[in-house]
């Protein structure tokens, strides 16, 4: 239903997204996950035709969004990050206006609006001015706007951001219910949300696609190994070399497990390591004897469980560094 191929967007010298390729099947809910500034909104804006790509193609329901924009747009409902609402209009007036610009025939309009209002639970605010309704209702009006015209494809940019927990649950339920009739791309930087609602997840970081899989698959991929956090008093390089040589060890990285590369490797004279091992292997004893043999006392050793949250962090740690340096630069 949606095909994105080699999509690249550059802003002047800065990079928006780079060489993004993925596709979404009919009836699928695809989660778009990434830290803020990763390129989620940019990608969604290109799919909807709000932005033009620097290179690459996007096809929606078979129509190229650059060459056949009108046909593609007829098939897309889009909820931007900030719901595009006219404050001085009533909900009723606004939904009628959206119907008009989407070209829904007058005869079908009122029945169609009634259905969407029902689905989004907008009954209580239908006659009120948009500027006077709560944030949660505004978000729903935005969603209703996207649903008008029964588009095949829904693009929802952070539909639950800024809502209270009850509203978040309601919106999630609503989106999940829509999945049977529409193909949906939903972006979020909240991981549990994506794993709850979406059938498949794209993790995007720094404008690049990092991983694409089912939520379970992503977790399994990283649970194919176990992670051991170790703190040893001894020369860092020596410890890394010795631990790396043990049977069953896949990789050794300096730094706190789960918090990603870039955290300091502990105070001088100590080595803080995160050791990835085979799922079946328990290297703790071997590690103890090896360290004892070299006379490097183990200060701490424990297994670290990788949650999906850790997966996300691990896959996107580079971005965290960038963010930190940006903050430092702007401070």
């Amino acid at each position: 239903m949606i095909e994105v191929k080699n999509l690249t967007k550059t802003y002047g010298r800065a990079r928006g997204v780079e060489d993004l390729t993925f596709s979404v099947e009919k009836g699928e809910i695809l989660g778009f996950l990434g830290p803020n500034g990763a390129g989620k909104t940019t990608t969604m804006r290109i799919i909807t035709g709000y932005l033009a790509a620097t290179s690459g193609t996007v096809r929606v329901a078979g129509y190229d969004v650059f060459e056949d924009p009108m046909e593609a747009r007829r098939r897309i409902g889009y909820l931007p990050e900030n719901p595009p609402l006219y404050r001085e209009m009533t909900v009723r007036g606004y939904l009628h206006f959206v119907c008009e610009i989407k070209g829904i025939p007058r005869s079908r309009r009122s029945g169609h609006i009634a259905r969407v209002v029902e689905a989004c639970g907008l009954g209580p605010v239908y006659g009120r001015l948009i500027q006077n309704i709560s944030r949660g209702f505004k978000q729903r009006v935005g969603l209703a706007q996207a649903l008008l015209g029964d588009p095949d494809v829904l693009i929802l940019d952070e539909p639950t951001v800024g809502l209270d927990p009850r509203q978040i649950i309601e919106i999630r339920e609503l989106v999940r219910g829509l999945g049977s009739k529409h193909t949906i791309i939903l972006s979020s930087h909240v991981l549990p949300e994506v794993s709850m609602v979406c059938g498949r997840v794209v993790i995007i970081n720094n404008g690049r696609l990092v991983a694409i899989d089912t939520p379970e698959g992503l977790a399994r991929r990283l649970r194919g190994s176990r992670c051991l956090a170790v703190r040893v008093r001894g020369p860092r390089d020596g410890v890394v070399a010795e631990v790396g040589a043990l049977a069953g060890v896949r990789s050794v990285s300096v730094g706190e497990a789960g918090s990603g590369a870039g955290t300091p490797g502990g105070p001088a004279g100590e080595a803080v390591l995160s050791v990835e091992t085979e799922l079946a292997a328990d290297v703790r004893e071997a590690l103890f004897f090896k360290m004892a043999e070299r006379g490097w006392p183990i200060l701490e050793m424990r297994f670290v469980d990788l949650s999906l949250e850790d997966v996300f962090l691990r896959l996107t740690t580079e971005e965290k560094l960038d963010d930190a340096s940006e903050v430092a630069a702007s401070a």
């Binding site: 804006r45 932005l51 033009a52 009108m70 747009r73 931007p80 595009p84 209009m89 008009e100 070209g103």
Partner: protein, 237 residues
């Protein structure tokens, strides 16, 4: 076409639901009422000639205020994301919004028809120059609003849009001053571009095709630039 109508309707409602139309309209009408009564008392002639000229100058200041919100606010509030991702062409959006500002202006002009009505009631004015003068006012105002619409497409800041719009109109106004200093064909060419120069003949009762064409192409060029500006934004940000 149908969608231009939808955009137009929504925009007209936005004008008259907010204070903008009323405030700018009040300012415009108070000033033109002042010109009408002062000139009437001073000259005691049943003519609109001076009044219409002053109204035109006044409208150079009023037009940017009327149009500065049109496209800038959409960008600022993010509602342009709805319009530009809907199956509506940018031309429909720009033209629909522009026509809404023109209608608002026509409402102002309609109110000023009370002045010629007063003249007719108490005197016997020559109606020819009044009709042509109002046609000229309409064309002149339509041109000013097109420039303002273009300025509004440039930015998301209404204040900036207003100032830029005013700057454009001021430039086209003072072109006629320059022509006094620059003689020869260059000066003449420059004064041909002046936005108020083309209004003079309408006031005198002359409907010249070249003046009409000047205003129509002025509108066309600036609306075209507005459409191109919005289209090009997709490539930059």
């Amino acid at each position: 076409m149908l969608k231009t109508w939808s955009i137009f309707k929504r925009e007209v409602a936005a004008y008259f639901l907010s204070p903008i139309a009323y405030v700018t309209g009040a300012v415009f009408l108070v000033l033109s009422g002042y010109f009408f009564s002062i000139l009437l008392f001073a000259t005691r002639s049943a003519s609109m000639q001076g009044t219409l000229g002053n109204m035109a100058v006044t409208f150079i200041f009023v037009a940017p205020v009327l149009t500065m919100r049109l496209l800038a606010e959409e960008k600022k509030l993010g509602t342009d994301e709805l319009l530009l991702t809907s199956p509506v062409s940018i031309t429909s959006i720009v033209v629909g919004k522009y026509l809404a500002s023109v209608l608002t202006y026509l409402v102002f002009l309609a109110v000023t028809l009370i002045y010629p009505a007063i003249l007719r009631h108490y005197g016997s004015p020559d109606m020819g120059p009044i009709y042509s003068g109002y046609l000229g006012m309409f064309l002149f105002g339509a041109a000013c609003l097109a420039a303002g619409t273009f300025a509004s497409a440039l930015t998301e800041n209404q204040m900036v849009a207003g100032i830029v719009g005013f700057g454009i109109l001021l430039l086209f106004w003072i072109l006629s001053w320059v022509s006094a200093a620059v003689t020869g064909p260059v000066g003449q060419a420059i004064s041909m571009l002046s936005i108020l120069k083309h209004f003079d003949d309408f006031q005198k009762g002359i409907i010249d095709l070249s003046h009409t064409l000047y205003y129509l192409s002025f509108v066309f060029v600036f609306l075209f630039l507005a459409v191109r500006t919005i289209d090009s934004r997709r490539w930059s940000a």
